[in-house]
């Protein structure tokens, strides 16, 4: 099978084009460095199938960072029949230089000028045919986002593979490229993104910029709470009704033990977790919107001064924000950093980000123990605690991981994602959530059920069960934090995946929906709940996060440290909170 690779500088729309051409759903976003790994998919061109590969963005092939090394390794180890060099049509002059590092490879090149829509809006004129003959390679104008020019591009790829193109002259140098750009591209003197300028004047305002940023964040979380909560209540009601009306009568013939496992174990656990699906969708739609607008680069700009006091930079802050979705892609996103110290320090703080899985646990506890009026504030306080824990960590360790990286970061124009981009992204996240659910949660809740119901004869979830014994064993460590044996069991499973925490509580209390909430409120008070939430927020990240830290850092001692430090920090924070709160 022939292999075609998409290559280009960061944030030029390679992944958007890849998705368009192959119908895949790799993540795209208005931030340089969204893609940090290889993705490949089959591309159907008439009767032929070729393999299309999406690569991280690169400035040349020297590979200064991990993500750029991915590209150079890929090119060194694989035969590539055709390279599609993707260039932002409004920045041809600087981006064309990439061709000079690709030419010596001897692979035929096709030049793709993407974002034709933006170039046109800026009044930029490009003479494609002239550019093509000067460069000695086909040139194609497209807009990956709007889907313009894709048919031509497909035809071009097909013909270029059938009658192989000549590779470009190996000696094509930067002077020749600059000259070609000058001769074929006409940029008006004042080519600026007018809307972006206007928005930046407000959003990057010297005094208002930061308050606006935190205001926007607060409103987003608030919105998720107000919109998501009723939907989640409706979902729990639905699962409750389904169980009582349809499933219980259906299963009446089964033995007691099996029914217990099915209902109090699997069903309670899964239904509790599943009732959060709409909320997760909503949350990720918001995240996708923020990531696609280009506001992340502005957040980096606004926060860099503060972050540098903590030994990090604006990009680290953006990774913490991305970690609010899921820690794993945020950890991988640090590949764009050149300084190893900065990268390790950022990877140390990312797991403290309040990810969407922890969000479910907190929404659940907040719903059970706090009045609706204060609920959103409690949630926001946890987000602030998450950032504070990250800052404290970096303050303690910034000397051990020194940062000498320069911060040179593009501030792309604001872009509004299309509806289909947002929906696809939301869909993708749900699939990801469900995959995790099937992998961890089913096994987790079954295990919790077994632990809370055996040995045979012990009253369910009592101190005599295995779970009770385990909880009692750890009790001396956790009771000073106000965490009782039942919650301890949930915490142990939360180590595997935070999604299991509420699933296992449902099993432990043998209830779901509203009944579970009131059972929880009967067992613990709000101080215990907040202490538990603090502990859950900070303690050991989930297994996938640990695995990612291990593969990204390639260092076992660091990984152990990245597990032990948050655990210790969590204990101290919860201890201080709980002991202070009960004594006043």
């Amino acid at each position: 099978m022939k292999r075609v690779a998409l290559i280009g500088m960061p944030n030029v729309g390679k992944s958007t084009l890849f998705n368009r051409l192959t119908g895949s759903h790799v993540k795209a976003g208005n931030w340089p460095g969204i893609t940090v790994d290889l993705y490949s998919a089959k591309l159907l061109l008439g009767a032929d199938i070729v393999e299309l590969v999406d690569l991280p963005g690169v400035y040349d092939l020297r590979g200064h960072t991990e993500d750029q090394a991915v590209v150079s390794t890929f090119i060194a180890r694989n035969r590539v029949d055709l390279m599609l060099v993707v260039i932002n049509a409004s920045q041809i002059e600087r981006q064309l230089r990439l061709v000079s590092s690709l030419a010596p490879l001897g692979v035929p090149l096709v030049l793709i000028l993407n974002m034709a829509d933006e170039a046109a809006a800026l009044g930029i004129r490009i003479e494609c045919e002239k550019l093509s003959s000067r460069m000695g390679m086909p040139v194609c104008m497209v807009s990956a986002k709007r889907g313009h020019g894709l048919e031509q591009l497909r035809t071009l790829i097909r013909t270029s593979l059938q009658e192989p193109l000549q590779p470009p002259r190996a000696d094509i140098d930067e002077r020749a490229l600059d000259a070609a750009a000058h001769a074929c591209v006409f940029v008006p003197a004042q080519a600026t993104h007018a809307q972006t300028e206007k928005l930046d004047r407000v959003l990057l305002h010297p005094w208002l910029g930061l308050p606006i940023f935190f205001g926007v964040m607060f409103l987003l979380f608030e919105a998720i709470f107000w919109v998501g909560k009723p939907i989640q209540d409706a979902m729990s009601w639905f699962f409750d009704t389904l169980r009582n009306v349809a499933l219980v009568p259906l299963a009446s013939g089964l033995p007691e033990m099996v029914r217990g496992l099915l209902f109090d174990g699997l069903y309670s656990g899964l239904a509790t977790v599943a009732s959060f699906v709409p909320l997760i969708i909503l949350f990720f739609l918001c995240m996708a919107l923020v990531e696609d607008t280009g506001y992340l680069s502005r957040a980096a700009f606004l926060m860099d001064a503060l972050m540098s006091k903590f030994g990090m930079d604006g990009r680290s802050f953006v990774m913490i924000l991305m970690g609010f979705g899921c820690n794993v892609p945020a950890l991988m996103g640090t590949r764009v950093m050149r300084s190893r110290g900065l990268r390790l320090l950022t990877m140390l703080v990312i797991p403290l980000s309040l990810c969407s899985a922890r969000l479910q646990v907190f929404l659940f506890f907040i719903a059970a123990l706090f009045p609706t009026r204060t609920a959103p504030l409690v949630l926001f306080s946890l987000y602030l605690m998450s950032i504070a824990a990250a800052m404290l960590t970096s303050l303690v360790f910034k000397r051990r991981f020194s940062n000498n990286d320069a911060l040179v970061l593009e501030m792309p124009p604001y872009r509004l994602p299309t509806l289909s981009q947002v929906i696809l992204r939301g869909w993708h996240e749900v699939m990801h959530f469900l995959r995790r659910a099937t992998r961890f949660i089913v096994a987790g809740v079954v295990l919790v059920w077994v632990l809370t119901h055996f040995p045979i004869g012990a009253a369910p979830a009592s101190a005599q069960t295995w779970a009770g014994q385990l909880g009692a064993f750890l009790n001396p460590v956790l009771s000073p934090l106000g965490i009782d044996p039942q919650l301890t069991i949930a915490l142990i499973f939360g180590f595997v995946a935070k999604e299991i925490v509420i699933g296992s509580l449902a099993v432990i209390y043998a209830r779901d929906g509203g009944a579970l909430l009131s059972a929880l409120a009967d067992h613990i008070n709000w101080i215990q709940a907040y202490s538990f939430m603090l502990f859950t927020l900070i303690y050991t990240p989930c297994l996938s996060t640990i695995a990612t830290i291990r593969t990204e850092a390639k260092n076992r001692a660091y990984t152990v440290f990245a597990v032990v430090w948050p655990l210790a920090l969590a204990w101290v924070v919860s201890f201080v909170f709980y002991q202070t709160a009960i004594s006043i």
């Binding site: 500088m9 400035y59 040349d60 020297r62 200064h64 409004s90 920045q91 002059e93 600087r94 230089r97 800026l122 930029i124 940029v187 080519a191 600026t192 930046d200 990057l204 010297p206 005094w207 910029g209 930061l210 680069s297 980096a300 700009f301 606004l302 860099d304 001064a305 503060l306 540098s308 604006g314 050149r338 990286d405 320069a406 911060l407 040179v408 970061l409 593009e410 501030m411 792309p412 124009p413």
Partner: protein, 77 residues
């Protein structure tokens, strides 16, 4: 000669020297920084934060300490 970080907001200037570390030179050249190019300072972030710089049609941020290594000359009007 003045350095890039000393520009006032909105001011344009021409790059004269780029005597920076190898790493920084690499980043800057990727963004089109070359001797003779015109750059404009759009704004600065508060608390000695980064500079918002425009070069051709690219906007980027650069820390003031790095901008100090770039000598510029006022653009003749």
């Amino acid at each position: 000669m003045r350095t890039l970080d000393s520009l006032t907001t909105g001011e344009r200037a021409i790059i004269r020297t780029l005597e920076v570390s190898e790493d920084l030179a690499y980043c800057l050249s990727a963004f089109g920084f070359r001797i003779g190019k015109t750059v404009q300072l759009i704004r600065r972030a508060r608390f000695a934060g980064p500079l918002h710089i425009r070069i051709d049609t690219t906007d980027l941020m650069l820390r003031a300490c790095d901008a100090r290594c770039i000598e510029v000359q006022r653009q003749p009007a």
